[in-house]
């Protein structure tokens, strides 16, 4: 039982537990078409109850989803973290980015940090992401994170695809991790061109 939700700082972001003041941002996305791959769009009652459950999840499971904030402006960009409500076969690394904040690498930066935390601090031995097969943006992100489609794993309800993340040992000091960190650096500073950066 965590007495508090950890705060994680990355290059551009700070991940904090979901708070009351962030609810309007959450509701705006979950009551919109953007949430079609996450069981939405939700009505006001459903959106509020889901937000409450996002918070309760931390207490019941000892981990959960963080709100992604801009480190400087505090603006929220979406949510990312661990997710395993009732009915989930395994612990999931999950994410949603508000429509306005898409395409800036925030999901990559946040999920990379979240996965590191769960692997290195909580000692997880692996994780999956459950993704609607039509959600191409999320599938692309799962693949950038090194996750691969697992055809044999249990799904939530048969309508989702399971992407399995590399185990901690396979990630440690790997080319994949260095590539992810280089990609994040490039998002943070588009002029960043380390020696060897592919120009084509």
């Amino acid at each position: 039982m965590p007495s508090s939700i950890p705060v994680i700082e990355t290059k551009r972001l700070v991940l904090r537990g979901p708070e009351t003041v962030d609810y309007p941002d959450f509701k705006a996305t979950f009551s919109s078409y953007r949430a079609r791959f996450m069981g939405g769009p939700l009505n006001p009652y459903e959106a509020w109850m889901l937000y409450a459950a996002e918070i309760g999840h931390w207490q019941v499971r000892g981990f959960g989803m963080w709100m992604i904030h801009d480190k400087i402006t505090e603006e929220t960009y979406g949510m990312a973290g661990g997710w395993m409500p009732a009915g989930w076969p395994e612990r999931e690394i999950a994410w949603i980015i508000w429509p306005d904040a898409a395409g800036k690498g925030y999901a990559l930066e946040a999920t990379h940090a979240a996965r590191n935390y769960y692997y290195n601090t909580l000692g997880w031995d692996g994780a999956v992401s459950y993704i609607d097969p039509k959600n191409l943006d999320s599938i692309r992100l799962a693949e950038r994170l090194g996750a691969q489609k697992d055809h044999d794993a249990d799904t939530i309800d048969g309508s989702d695809a399971v992407y399995r993340h590399p185990a901690p040992n396979a990630l440690k000091d790997s080319q994949l991790i260095h590539g992810i960190e280089m990609e994040i650096s490039h998002y943070a500073d588009p002029l960043f061109k380390p020696e060897g950066w592919a120009l084509d």
């Binding site: 705060v7 700082e9 309760g56 019941v60 060897g196």
Partner: protein
């Protein structure tokens, strides 16, 4: 090669984890036979109290373990979002959780509702009224609420009897889209001092 590139940018992608105390402190109340604790309090083990196999069952639809999980998660989140919510009732003599009671006000509810759920074997002992008195006292004295309603189906004689016993007054029938039943009446709880000098109305107003 990739290691050298990574080393070049590693300084910028360092991840920093800090634990911060969110400062949440939730109330707990004590009565003669019960402790009322917020399940959002950090030390409360919601899994052990409600979710493990064999845990006491008392919430409607609790036969569905998935629905129960979502109920408990939302009950905890409700405390964070509203600053109040359903207390877990713990029997002091045994340490056993015997139910939940408290103000419940998700989006879509017409107003905050004092709601209660007891396990089967905790009924008939006066626990609900004992806990309700404590919660009402907390709401009226500590939170300075002026009233709170309960929505009770007309055929739920046990809950109507409880509402009357703790001084609630019947008002109009109530219906809202999310209402769990379609024959519910509003019963309004009043601060104790307001009841002085006015007879408690025990009949139906309509």
């Amino acid at each position: 090669m990739h290691k050298q590139i990574a080393a070049a940018c590693a300084a910028g992608v360092d991840t920093d984890v800090v634990m911060s105390d969110t400062g949440y402190r939730f109330p707990s109340l004590m009565t003669q036979r019960l402790t009322l604790v917020s399940p959002a309090e950090a030390g409360f083990d919601a899994h052990d109290a409600f979710l493990r196999i064999g845990a006491p069952r008392f919430i409607d639809a609790a036969d569905d373990p998935d629905a129960l999980w979502w109920s408990i998660a939302t009950i905890i989140g409700h405390w964070h979002l509203r600053g109040y919510g359903l207390f877990a009732l713990v029997e002091r003599s045994t340490g056993r959780p015997v139910g939940m009671i408290g103000p419940w006000f998700p989006k879509g509810w017409p107003e905050p509702e004092l709601s209660w759920h007891l396990t089967e074997d905790a009924r008939g002992k006066g626990y609900a009224s004992e806990a309700a008195e404590a919660v009402l006292d907390w709401l009226f004295r500590e939170k300075n609420w002026s009233n709170i309603a309960s929505f009770i189906p007309e055929d739920n004689t046990a809950s109507i009897a409880l509402a009357q016993r703790i001084g609630a007054r019947p008002e109009q029938l109530v219906s809202f889209r999310l209402a769990p039943a379609n024959n519910m009446r509003t019963w309004r709880h009043q601060p104790r001092q307001r009841l002085l000098g006015e007879p408690v109305i025990t009949g139906r107003l309509q």
